[in-house]
Homo-oligomer: 210 residues x 4
DNA sequence: TATGAATGAGCTTTCATTCAT
DNA sequence: AATGAATGAAAGCTCATTCAT
């Protein structure tokens, strides 16, 4: 007798399917324009079932964000321990974004458009994690300035924005041009280029401030 | 006998008031979430009046975009004639954005969030002008590469995105931090810094590509 | 010195222009769909002015109906006095409708579509005149039955409807086909034909009832 | 174990209920004045549900018309096969209208007021079926003229209008008087009378044309 | 007289959410 | 677990009507 395969891990599975569908639809239409019906249709289930797994549309969105932040913060913790150099940590972040863009382009797109670009729309709770993230990058930048890797006449917070802006720009470009990352090598090349452009660009100027 | 000046130009004035309110509300909530009611309330008029001046919400949005593109393209024409160097033109663009951000922060914010960041959502007509804009920057970048000002191993289109991304990042930062530009000097300093970071960062590497 | 020709009879003139425009627009779109703006535009005036001459849209409509009924009842009075035969009176009615259709096709069309065909929409006041009209035709029919001109096994009211229905059908046909009445002769021919069809059709059957 | 029968065919049932309510409301107020709220209220449901079953108000209206035309054309096909004489076919049409008026007075009323009387309002798609219908009657009339059943000096299209006008008049009369058809016998009597009036009225005149 | 800016009730439509089955 | 019928708040848009000029 064949095992009813929809049982054991079914809950987790369905949840994932819904989350993935939600990502796709939210990426395509934006959070506010994404309809539960679309998400359910994409997931191949009825819209009523979405409410069996998630309390509300906001709840569903929060689950997506949670997934994103959990992974990211876990990795950043790890880097803190295993990567001594600031450059390495920044490089790891670039790679992480490109990696994620390869694996979960929708998720990265949502992070960029729905979080970092429309921070003014966010609920306080959602804004919180974003701010924590910014602070962490900011302290990396401050450390880099202390180590004379980056010019000190630009506020760390601004450097943070320039850095993230560069990553976002690249990914946005690829999204817009519909260019998926094809090879490991290409990814590495882009990551290196990106980091270089930033580090060179923000390198301390000879003879001091602007 | 001087006439009550609230009559003569009343139509243009009201239109401007509505446009301005629309900018503000759209910036605060995004185009789709911006309600006519809010716009009217912000303008201190009844929502019916909005429809007296604009055919529809989309029409109102188009009027905002038109204002933006008209000004920008007019200036770019002028630069083409009066500014010989690529650096000068890029610098002028940075200054323009910062200027506009000072005068019309909402408008700049809308450009960034509703146009350059959600280009995939735009109607063909709206997308058109954005694409024209991108092409113009792109040819500037190509020219800069030809003049060995910028490294040639990154596609001009990508350089375009990095450049605009840097501008956007800066402005986003200021929006997020709620930091208005205070002085002419500050604006000049930021503009120079921004341009330097970009030019230094994307400067040709000794010994060639990648 | 040229006389300001817009003065003396200006009120009456404007009123007529508005009424005529209203007729045309109401015919084209129906009463409920006819917008004051359309009427004003057709009349070549601003919509505000309509309210100078008519209290409201309903008032305007009533003025149209009044015109129609006043003329019609005046003529019917006259026929009552000068036309002895029932046939003559019915013939006069047919001619009247065709005459009016020639002179004021919109008005006839409104009578047909907005009054006789959608009696359920009418306000009690408007319905009143229509019912008076029906009664008068009905008594003509009863008289014709008494004179053995028409079969008696159909209620006079039904004969009334058949008769008016025939007129309406003809005119509707012409409206639909966009066929204006071209000559006096054509009008006369149609009137005669119409009356004949009705009188022949409703002539008492040999040997009596149903 | 018999299932609660309110479930199985619930969809079809609700749709019918809505269609019926729509017919009633549209009859009472006309298509443009019929509010979804009224229709829903009449059906005893919330207005949102109307949109669950029909895409839009226009869609709902089209569904009504489709019902009407489908039935009518199906029958006309059948007559074409089984009824040899023109008289029989015209008679069948009269009976059909009276039948329908008995069963679905609202539907008949809508056909008369919203379709045959306001052809100018109709969308091309809606007008299409009406024109097809008219053509079919028209060819019946032409055939009847060929068989010398009807006078030939009136265009078949005009005869069509007179014929339909007569039917409409009768039914309008009954609508206006609020007189439902009471018995089979009464229906038969009216049908016969109506057909007679038309055929007698439009019978070829001795000695030829008008 | 004449204009059209201004108002707001009222209508269609969308969609998150609930709930009976 | 799963469905989709049912609800109703909310938003865009229309248009009769008022009123300052």
């Amino acid at each position: 007798m064949i095992r009813n395969d929809s049982s054991t891990e079914s809950r987790k599975d369905k949840e994932s399917v819904i989350l993935e569908s939600a990502c796709r639809v939210i990426r395509e239409r934006g959070f506010h324009q994404a309809r539960i019906t679309d998400i359910a249709q994409t997931a191949g289930i009825s819209y009523g079932l979405v409410y069996h797994y998630f309390k509300s549309k906001a709840d569903l969105f929060d689950a997506i964000l949670k997934e994103w932040w959990t992974d990211l913060f876990a990795l950043m913790e790890e880097w803190e321990i295993h990567k001594s150099g600031v450059e390495d940590q920044l490089g790891a972040l670039v790679i992480y974004f490109l990696d994620q863009y390869q694996k979960r382009p929708d998720l990265v797109h949502i992070f960029i458009t729905e979080i970092s670009r429309s921070a003014s729309n966010l609920t306080p709770a959602r804004l919180h994690w974003f701010k924590v993230f910014l602070s962490r990058i900011e302290s990396l930048m401050a450390r880099a300035q202390y180590q004379k890797l980056l010019r000190s006449d630009i506020k760390p917070r601004y450097l943070t924005y320039i850095f993230l802006g560069a990553i976002e720009s690249f990914i946005s470009a690829m999204v817009l041009e519909n260019q998926p990352l094809k090879s490991r090598a290409q990814k590495q090349r882009i990551a290196t280029g990106l980091l270089q452009v930033f580090l060179n660009g923000a390198r301390p100027v000879k003879g001091g401030a602007s």
